[in-house]
């Protein structure tokens, strides 16, 4: 993280989003919206005084996954890069009620700027890597897990914050009542491998659930009941890790954890089938950790539209070939890295990201792109300049030239032939797919069939 922040070749654009992409492989123009931080990045020293003094506390649903609070002016976490806070304008007293300005008063650098506006910038690039990650599936969609009905039913991500030394409890595994749990249940495949939620396997939950079991045992000594369907310890040194956690004394129950019930005294009753014993089991615990599914980001539709990405039926961005071209997309020059393409753990993500980087570097080292000559061409003598082709072209490759005639930009044209079929004046030909070539082909096909 720090390396990326300091690298002389990397320009960090945080709190920013890509709004539009145009162009083609080797020559993309990208419009980026840099949202107003309300803090001058040049002046801010990252001292953190503003955050300390800010009177407004907000439940942090992003970094702390709802487990902790942050201020209205904040850095998401202490090692944030860049080390510059932002004002959350929806919760800041000044932006909502027009008063306070405490951060401005305490800032020794005079860096607070309530009038800062969003900026739009445009950059030219030759290649794009889409590494937009995943979203968290909401366990409320399967009410049998009672998620949301007790603060002691948490997701795996929330447990990460609970056990993190930098988290809201300083790394102490405690229930909402502030006590160490005596019994903890971990339920695998919540929302994954389930036709009522996501049919796919989210791939890394088995392993983090084993890690959570280990951490609960190590930190609290609590009894851990782990409900699993299959243990997918597929990676290098993973099976050994599974063995190690078994030696920690975790009780493994083979079978899907079917239901969590919140009892009147606040205890949690987990019911499931123990497939090895062939009977229903239940256990009362103080804390339940749901290994909940991951899913495509909620705005994956918009991202797919901006970058021209396809989707596989499960919603993840589509690679060009599932085995041979895992980091490429159907659009030349646009690559995928990490979970945006599908669930994968950290080692696989790093490999995938390097595969995408390799594709980018390969393109740059070649230095030029070869563009297929099978494009559309306009016969200006026949073109009446009606503009039908301009409207029809899916790649925005046609424009009127100075003579008022349609002209195809061969770098943008994909040779699809839509304009050829659309042109009312028959003024456009598709090279390598001319009328006479196609007619001759049809004659060959039908010889002896039609007279």
């Amino acid at each position: 993280m720090m390396d990326a922040g300091r690298h002389p070749n990397i320009t960090l654009l945080t709190y920013s989003e890509v709004e539009a992409v145009s162009g083609y492989v080797g020559n993309f123009t990208v419009r980026i919206r840099k949202r107003a931080r309300s803090v001058d990045e040049e002046k801010c020293t990252g001292c953190g005084l503003c955050q300390e003094k800010c009177p407004t506390k907000v439940i942090d649903t992003a970094y702390e996954a709802g487990m902790g609070k942050r201020k209205a002016i904040y850095r998401p976490f202490s090692q944030a890069i860049p080390n510059i806070p932002v004002i959350d304008r929806e919760n800041c007293l000044f932006f909502t009620k027009g008063r306070c300005k405490l951060c401005e008063k305490v800032c020794p650098a005079g860096a607070i700027d309530y009038n800062q506006q969003d900026q739009t910038l445009e950059v030219q690039v030759g290649a794009i890597v889409v590494a937009t990650g995943y979203g968290m599936w909401d366990p409320r969609q399967l009410p049998q897990y009672s998620y949301g009905l007790s603060p002691n039913i948490i997701t795996g991500l929330q447990f990460e914050r609970l056990v993190s030394a930098g988290g809201p409890t300083g790394g102490h595994i405690v229930t909402a009542e502030g006590k160490e749990p005596e019994r903890v249940a971990i339920i695998h495949c919540v929302g994954s491998r389930d036709v009522n939620a996501h049919p796919y396997c989210s791939r890394f939950c088995c392993m983090y659930s084993l890690k959570h079991a280990h951490q609960v045992r190590e930190h609290t000594g609590a009894q851990v009941y782990e409900f699993y369907m299959d243990m997918r310890a597929f990676g290098k040194a993973y099976e050994e890790f599974y063995e190690r956690v078994q030696e920690d004394g975790v009780i493994f129950v083979r079978g899907r954890g079917a239901e969590v019930e919140v009892l009147p005294d606040g205890k949690l009753r987990v019911k499931g089938e123990d497939a090895d014993l062939g009977r229903l089991v239940s256990v009362d615990v103080d804390m339940v950790i749901l290994a909940s599914a991951i899913e495509p980001q909620p705005d994956a539709d918009r991202v797919a539209a901006i970058f021209g990405l396809g989707r596989t039926p499960d919603g993840w961005f589509a690679e060009a070939h599932p085995k041979l071209r895992p980091a490429e997309t159907a659009t030349a020059g646009i690559f995928l890295a990490g979970c945006a393409q599908g669930p994968r753990d950290i080692p696989d993500t790093v490999s995938h990201a390097d595969a995408a980087a390799m594709q980018v570097v390969r393109l740059f080292n070649q230095g030029e792109v070869t563009i297929s000559p099978t494009v559309a061409v306009v016969d200006e003598a026949k073109c009446v300049g009606c503009g039908e082709c301009i409207l029809a072209c899916p790649y925005s490759a046609i424009a009127r030239n100075l003579r008022g005639k349609a002209e195809v930009n061969p770098a943008l044209c994909q040779g699809c032939g839509t304009c050829v079929a659309t042109c009312p004046s028959h003024a456009i030909a598709g090279l390598h797919f001319t009328d006479e070539q196609i007619v001759a082909q049809i004659e060959g096909l039908l010889e002896g069939v039609l007279v």
């Binding site: 993280m1 070749n9 890509v18 794009i128 590494a131 990650g133 993190s164 770098a411 070539q437 004659e443």
Partner: protein
């Protein structure tokens, strides 16, 4: 139009095509079509000897058009285009007829398959005289990359591209890079710290 001198090559694809299509009958039909100088059958046209066969015919028989009837052009059209180009022919003087995915793999009816294969080959042979030489365009590449997303995937990709000496714009929606991984405590299976 120059006088076409067409070579036609029917691929057996092991037995993928020849088990269903009477490849010799197809070649025999092709050899009698106007402009066809040679029509051959071979086990694997895409193999090195298969490609060499085409290249030698181009040189020795003065072929100026080539038709290969084999698999889908999505598979080997670039292979054969490169092969004819290496023998001095413009790659757009080449045409492919798909007699595997469109014929042998979709029926057990040998008679119908052979008839359809003949028609596809005839269509290609009729087409090639009208084909014109084309030259691909080359465009320079802007040697800078955009990486969208500052999680572990985006950071790793950005670092590798940057280390290779190219500028990278790393765009992240949140106020900090780090993504999901920055939220994690220790990571399996080594239990090392994630940030």
């Amino acid at each position: 139009m120059e006088k076409p001198r067409i070579g036609v090559y029917i691929c057996e694809c092991g037995v993928n095509i020849s088990a269903t299509v009477d490849v010799n009958a197809v070649a025999e039909m092709a050899s009698r079509l106007p402009g066809v100088v040679v029509a051959r059958v071979y086990k694997y046209m895409c193999s090195e000897p298969g490609q060499l066969m085409i290249q030698e015919d181009i040189r020795n028989l003065g072929l100026n058009r080539v038709v290969v009837a084999s698999c889908t052009p999505r598979m080997h059209e670039p292979t054969f285009q490169r092969a004819v180009e290496a023998a001095g022919l413009n790659p757009y003087y080449f045409q492919m007829a798909n007699i595997r995915e469109h014929v042998s793999w979709i029926t057990d009816d040998r008679e119908a398959a052979t008839e359809k294969a003949k028609r596809l080959v005839r269509a290609a042979v009729f087409r090639v005289p009208y084909q014109a030489p084309l030259e691909p365009r080359r465009e320079p590449v802007t040697k800078a990359a955009l990486v969208v997303g500052g999680g572990i995937a985006g950071i790793q990709a950005a670092l590798s591209i940057a280390d290779a000496g190219y500028p990278v714009y790393l765009v992240e929606r949140e106020p900090s890079i780090g993504g999901r991984m920055a939220q994690l405590d220790k990571t399996f299976p080594t239990l090392d710290c994630s940030t």
